[in-house]
Amino acid sequence: MAVATPAVAEAASRTRNPVLAFGRAQPLGAVSLVAIVAMMFGGIFAELVAPYDPLAIDFGSMLAGPSIEHWFGTDAFGRDILSRVIYGARTALVIGFTSSFIGSTAGAIVGTASAYFGGRLDSVIQRFVDILLSFPIIVLALVVVAVLGRTLVLGIDVNLIFAIAVPILPKVARVVRAAALSVRAMPYIDAARAAGYSHLRIIVRHMAPNLVAPYIIMLTAYIAQAILLEASLSFLGLGVTEPTPAWGLMLSGNASDFFREAPWMILFPGIAISVAVFAFNLFGDAMRDWLDPKFKL
């Protein structure tokens, strides 16, 4: 969105530190990066940051409004909402990162292979991608949830991560394939083939380095989508389950019964989702402008 003027771009390339260079070229992206880092800090060090145990039930202070003791108030079980929001950041980030990473990586592999080998393999893969693309991501995720059920590892549902990764795969595959097609037409690929290198070596050593930019752009862009999708699925009761703190889950169940008496129950988790998605969206946009301004998602 923000068009980098030549002077800015030059200053950016002169600076050694890539984080500083990114901050100078993309101020909005830098602001969102700060928000993301703050979220990660809260998520990683939740035990130290959160004032209460997110699972501690306290019937003495049920549905208490925001106060000095409970900044964001408490829920119907007297659990501290601020602590649950902080622990919820951990859930959202873990699921957001891993599912976007799995979906984008698998998509990039499929897209690159499809472009490199071409021919019948390419058309079969593309028809399959077409089929997957004709569904809204949440519908696809719900079907995968229906298929896989739940498998808990360390309190996180791995099948949920997979369900969120599946709808990301075809989108990344489509975009990476397009980029890979233009890389494949480069003379150095012909040269590598003429030199008799194996397919694997050509893909890994010659094509992959030139596909990193679209891969990183897609990866960051889909973290926001993944967090939103996790929140939606948890809200529907088909994602993260109680008692694990998750933002979407905090909006469902008795939150909707008591939201008149205790509006803070729905206010803060919703703000947390919005801010997180907002920050990752801005950051994704900034990464795109920085790495490849012409790239279209």
Partner: protein, 317 residues
């Protein structure tokens, strides 16, 4: 043109068959079925014998290939089978809920178009002014705020400001338009915000692109009034990509409805889908997936046809 449309319609058949195959086998790869959820879901102590009988009745005991054959034959005769949970025909289950969801979708589209096109146009014309910044902020917000949370906030404000909540029972438009609209406007707004954000961003960026074209400079140089330059020369071209987005988002509205109907307790397609998933109701999931895919393809085709109608350079053969 007509030949092209027929060709495209015929091309849908193999894709739909592909969808049917994929969804059928996906659902049956992993153990667990509707019978277990239905009879043992509440921790009830039901004998294996009963489960077996129920599976037999639903045809779940047949070999996979036989079940698949039934599914394919059913599709060929346009019979989606019966819901494994309620025993009512899938078509009927979908049919009674379609009106509500379709109406919310159409209303959301109208809201989105009415808001997005002026907003995007204004932002592009007044680029980098404060109006542009506000529009950009509001639209990025639209992509970030979950529609179900927006719905809850809407309900909360209705409750605190007017002490009123939209009714839960659905009144069709032709029975009582006022009751119908006051009920459905809120979910339509909740879904429409994101929708309008997506469209407004598209209108803004494509109008900015068009405004840089040579023919716009030519028109201005000729001394054409600025509002005619914008409305006749720029907008007509800039709206083409917007139409695509409107169409695609319309086809995907079912995704937004899945969560929003839950918030407003509306018994529509989205809620039915969530129910069928949590109940492992295979036939109903299959039927809905086929319907969504078909709907998406038809919308896609319509968008392509509209393209040709709006842009005389595009001719399909």
């Amino acid at each position: 043109m007509l030949r092209y449309a027929i060709h495209r319609l015929l091309l849908m058949i193999p894709t739909l068959i592909g969808v049917a195959i994929v969804v059928f086998f996906m659902l049956r790869v992993v153990p667990g079925d509707v019978v277990e959820v239905k009879l043992r879901g509440d921790g009830g102590n039901v004998s294996e014998e009963t489960l077996k009988l129920e599976r037999q009745r639903l045809g779940l005991d047949k070999p996979l290939i036989a079940q698949f054959g039934d599914w394919m034959i059913g599709l060929a005769t346009l019979d989606l089978g019966k819901s494994m949970w309620t025993d009512r025909p899938v078509i009927e289950e979908i049919g009674i809920r379609l009106e509500l969801s379709l109406q919310v979708a159409v209303m959301a589209t109208i809201i989105a178009v009415l808001i997005a096109i002026p907003m995007g146009t204004l932002a592009a014309l007044l680029r980098d002014s404060w109006i542009d910044y506000v529009v950009r902020l509001v639209t990025i917000g639209g992509l970030a705020v979950p529609s179900f949370w927006l719905g809850m906030l809407l309900m909360l404000s209705l409750l605190t400001l007017f002490n009123w909540l939209p009714p839960i029972t659905f009144t069709p438009l032709y029975v009582d338009p006022v009751a119908n609209l006051t009920q459905l406007i809120w979910p339509a707004l909740a879904v429409g915000y994101r929708y309008s954000a997506v469209v407004a961003r598209m209108v803004r960026s494509s109008l900015l692109e068009v405004l840089n074209e040579d023919y716009i400079r030519t028109a201005r140089a000729k001394g054409v009034f600025e509002n005619i330059v914008v409305s006749r020369h720029a907008l007509r071209n800039a709206l083409l990509p917007a139409i695509t987005v409107i169409g695609l988002e319309f086809a995907f509205l079912i995704g937004g409805l899945v969560v929003t109907e839950q918030v407003f307790n509306l018994n529509g397609i989205g809620k039915l889908f969530v129910q069928s998933v949590s109940r492992n109701d295979f036939t109903l999931i299959q039927g809905m997936v086929m319907m969504i895919a078909l709907f998406y393809m038809l919308v896609n085709l319509t968008v392509d046809m509209l393209y040709a109608a709006f842009d005389p350079r595009i001719r399909y053969r």
